[in-house]
């Protein structure tokens, strides 16, 4: 009877449709995924590089993110006021001085007489360099072609995204290949100060709670610190740190591009060979495995009271990911009354509100984090107890699982419904697992009620959870 019900469930949820993707592999190992969309007014282009927070080390945390910022400062051809040969000596000298000054900063010697003199020289050199360069040229050139461009850095990848009119593909590929091969980090210290400002704005109790959680769950690894980096590290990052990181991670075989739009496949394939195909192949270092640390509990001072419960999640391409996600969905509640959390959060209930988040990054092992906002004066231990008790009582039904699976299918459809979203998911799955199809395979799988119940019992246990309590000083 149960299996008949489960079969019915599977049939009701239409699986996501698989996109029609053409894969092009260049001689240097770089892969491109091409998704023709006849009639689309614009083309989305994404270049995803396997370079992120997990590739950093202690002391240079935040380097992946800073590099992403500086990748918008141009190339030898874009951003040079009088040609690269004229700019180059100014660039080299200022960068060397910035390296030397950052070395003093790392040793806390920037306040010495030597530091003061070097700083004066650095500022002079940067000003001289600015007479020969213009770091805003790259963005200006894109604007003149009606192209919008942005980037983001995550734990496993850095993605560079663009939205362009159909007639600009050859131009865009040339510019992006040039930037990929030889970015020029103009206005290095200005951009570093922009990142430091971002860090200053990121100081809410919840940010601190997530930082603490990741550090305790993943320890001294790239998963353990915020992708933006620790302030002391970012403050002392030098151009040389960026050069080193670039050399380790930015190789054509370590990147995947994707285009979604109305274009001619043959012409694009030719342009890809002429542009990105011209970049020599290089090897990159293998990544380290992530090791989860023992579960812990912590309390942080904050004005408002919250309870953060975190549970381990497998990579999103793992066969256990879907049943676990379904289990999380069921616990959070598929409607306002079905599930665990709806009995805990709401008016006249122990918690005011509940939200769920996943992080850091989801291509590797990560966490599902349940955040319960508590009313003033509410005892967090009591709410936590109520959560575990409600979980013990909860028996998901086949009808609820059907809804949970439909909601997961909808989330995936939302994530990939825009050309940019589709290009991002395709390129990241291809980059991380060698096959973009793997992401759709998992999405199309339909776990049974028995599997989901097993995951529910396995995942949501007190001994499996990291717990952080936020509240006023006691």
């Amino acid at each position: 009877m149960v299996s008949a019900l489960v079969t019915a469930v599977v049939l009701l949820v239409a699986p996501p449709s698989v996109p029609d993707v053409k894969r092009v592999t260049l001689g240097n190992g770089m892969r491109w995924l091409l998704v023709p969309r006849p009639g689309a007014p614009r083309t989305s282009g994404v270049i995803t590089v396997a370079a992120g927070g997990v590739d950093e080390e202690m002391g240079i945390t935040g380097v992946a993110h800073l590099l992403e910022h500086l990748a918008f400062a141009g190339t030898p051809f874009v951003g040079s006021k009088r040609g690269w040969r004229v700019e180059e000596p100014f660039h080299d000298e200022a960068m060397q001085a910035a390296d030397a000054y950052a070395a003093l900063e790392k040793l806390s010697l920037s306040g010495t007489l030597e530091g003061g003199l070097l700083y004066t020289r650095l500022v002079t050199l940067e000003n001289q360099w600015r007479t020969k360069s213009d770091s805003a040229s790259y963005q200006r050139l894109l604007s003149s072609r009606d192209i919008s461009s942005n980037a983001s850095t995550a734990k496993h990848v850095t993605r560079y995204v663009s939205d362009l009119p159909a007639g600009q593909l050859q131009f865009w590929l040339t510019l992006e290949a040039q930037r990929f091969a030889a970015p020029v980090f103009r206005d290095f210290r200005v951009e570093r100060s922009v990142v430091l400002q971002e860090l200053k704005d990121r100081s809410s109790p919840l940010d601190r709670a997530y930082d603490q959680l990741y550090w305790t769950a993943f320890g001294a690894s790239g998963h353990g610190w915020p992708t933006i980096g620790w302030e002391a590290d970012v403050r002392a990052l030098a151009p040389g740190d960026l050069d080193g990181f670039y050399a380790r991670r930015y190789a054509p075989g370590n990147a995947v591009g994707c285009l979604v739009g109305d274009f001619d496949l043959q012409a694009v394939s030719r342009w890809l060979e002429d542009t990105f195909g011209a970049i020599p192949a290089r090897s990159v270092e293998a990544r380290h495995d992530v090791v989860l640390q023992p579960r812990t509990r912590a309390r942080l001072e904050a004005n408002s009271a919250e309870l953060l419960l975190a549970f381990p999640m497998p990579p999103r391409t793992d066969s256990t990911w879907k049943p676990r996600m379904a289990a999380v969905q069921l616990v959070m509640g598929v409607t306002a009354v079905h599930g665990v959390v709806p009995t805990l959060a709401g008016p006249d209930l122990p918690a005011v509100r509940a939200t769920v988040a996943f992080g850091p990054g989801d291509w590797g092992p990560h966490l599902a984090m349940l955040r319960l906002k508590l009313p003033a004066g509410r005892d967090a231990a009591g709410v936590e107890r109520a959560f575990w008790e409600a979980l013990q009582r909860y028996e998901p039904t086949a009808a609820e699982l059907e809804v949970a699976l439909a909601q997961l299918a909808f989330s995936h459809a939302s994530e990939t419904s825009t050309p940019l979203g589709l290009a991002s998911v395709l390129s990241e799955a291809e980059l991380m697992f060698g096959r973009w199809e793997v992401s759709w395979d998992v999405q199309r799988s339909a776990p049974t009620l028995a599997q989901v119940r097993a995951e529910l019992a396995q995942m949501f246990r007190p001994e499996e959870a990291w717990v952080i309590e936020l509240g006023p000083k006691r």
Partner: protein, 465 residues
């Protein structure tokens, strides 16, 4: 000498390998990208098709390849339609509608069916509301059968209503929401006076006084074809949408309700300081109410907002990056046009940023600074921005335009905007004699707000009563 250097640079660039700190640029890529192709002459745009389906005015924006279909319902009913003692009624009614229709299924089954098929979002404004429904393309037909039931005869389950009214009241007591709601109330009262329906504030009491019969009556008044328009975005055609909407055919609501929407606008200009010690940033709103731009002026209003955003952002950034963002919106109400300049900043920058904004406005009233060339730049910017809008965003604004009785804003309409039209919208909607400044957040004790205009200190927000 300089030209010799350039020439030499160019020659060397052509014959030797370029290297940037060890990063070699392949010869094939040693070209100036600016020389490849030409800048586009026009912006590609999505077409907006207008049609009628199931008696409803509708628009369709094609979105090739999208797995989702977005149905954006513009509902001609908002906060001003709440009875004074039942503030929050329209919001509760729309949310309660989404808890299910009165079919043969049990409430639980109904809720599960809905949660499986459709995904809702809701926004309430003064005179209008937006109900945004997203479904997977292959489930469009099934979802619309369900929606038709919800629109025609919502269940308005007592238990669901009780939960919604309790939640509505509780949410208002949350410090962040309380602070935002209070700042908004201060703004509306400063513009329209305390007694205006536009200044109405929901309270836990007004929520708890809402009964099922109020909700049913509000549904009958507001949710009817005469007060609805639909924007559809997705990889579907007009015929598919019309067929899917067939279950709504013949749907007749109650008689059109009367609306009293002409607000009395309060004269004078003031600076309102609203101390809300929640959140890290200070929020500043500089607001003015004037004439409602005609439907043919909507494109000019967009251009004006873009130009003001650009000019203000530049002016404020010149002062050392003191603001995080600045946006200028022209909100077209039923009888008025409201220009809202908003920005967030750190406490230490709040006064200077506000002062700079007022200074800029004063100078613009003396002399609108934009040349035709500047204006062209902003028209270009807003047309480009418009062309990049998501299909769902375009569908919604087109649906709202149809509800308000005007043509949708298109790239062509934006390109056709003239300088005098922008200046006219500026002088009609942004009035120096009706300029209110509302500063809310964790404010510095030392700032001299009175120096910026007649100062009124609002009390700190308390639980609304």
């Amino acid at each position: 000498m300089r030209w010799l250097g350039v020439l030499l640079g160019m020659t060397l660039a052509g014959c030797t390998t370029i290297e940037v700190r060890g990063r070699a640029l392949p010869r094939a890529l040693a070209v100036d990208p600016a020389d490849i192709g030409e800048a586009p002459t026009g912006v590609p745009t999505r077409a907006v098709q207008s049609f009628t389906a199931a008696g409803l005015p509708a628009v369709l924006v094609r979105d090739p390849g999208s797995e989702l279909v977005s149905l954006q319902w513009a509902v001609g009913c908002g906060r001003v339609d709440d009875p004074p003692e039942r503030a929050g009624l329209t919001e509760v009614m729309l949310q309660a509608m989404l808890t299910g229709g009165a079919g043969e299924r049990s409430t639980s089954e109904q809720q599960l069916a809905q949660a499986r098929l459709v995904h809702f979002d809701l926004a309430i404004d003064d005179a209008e509301s937006w109900l945004m429904v997203t479904v997977r393309r292959e489930e469009l037909k099934e979802a619309l059968v369900l929606l038709a039931e919800v629109f025609r005869s919502p269940r308005f389950d007592e238990a669901a209503l009780a939960r919604l009214t309790r939640t509505g009241g509780k949410i208002l007591e949350e410090p962040d929401i309380l602070a935002r709601d209070w700042a908004r109330t201060v703004r509306q009262r400063s513009l329209f006076g305390e007694a205006s329906p536009l200044s109405r504030r929901s309270t836990p009491q007004s929520f708890s006084s809402i009964r099922r019969e109020d909700v049913v009556a509000q549904h009958r008044r507001c949710v009817q074809p005469a007060f609805l328009s639909l924007g559809v975005a997705g990889d579907v055609d007009e015929a598919t949408v019309a067929a899917a909407l067939a279950p709504l055919e013949g749907w007749v609501g109650g008689a059109p309700r009367e609306r009293h929407l002409a607000p009395d606008v309060v004269g004078g200009s003031h600076v309102y300081v609203v101390p809300t010690p929640v959140g890290g940033r200070v929020q500043v709103e500089v607001v003015s109410v004037g004439l409602r731009p005609g439907s043919e002026q909507r494109a000019a209003a967009w251009v004006m907002a873009s130009a003001m955003t650009g000019e203000l952002f530049y002016a404020l950034r010149q002062r050392g990056g003191m603001i995080y963002d600045v946006t200028v919106d022209v909100e077209v109400g039923p009888t008025t046009g409201m220009t809202l300049i908003r920005f967030g900043t750190r406490r230490e920058h709040a006064w200077v940023a506000t002062s700079e904004t007022l200074k800029a406005l004063r100078s613009w009233w003396q002399h609108w600074p934009l040349t035709d060339e500047d204006l062209e730049k902003y028209i270009d910017r807003v047309a480009t921005h418009w062309s990049r809008r998501s299909a769902a965003g375009l569908a919604l604004s087109a649906a709202v335009a149809r509800l308000q009785g005007g043509p949708p804003v298109t790239v062509e309409a934006l390109r056709a905007v003239k300088g005098w039209e922008v200046r006219e919208v500026f002088s009609n909607t942004l009035r120096p004699d009706r300029l209110q400044v509302i500063v809310s957040g964790p404010l510095s004790e030392t700032d001299d707000w009175a120096a910026l205009g007649p100062l009124l200190r609002a009390p700190a927000p308390s639980s609304p009563r």
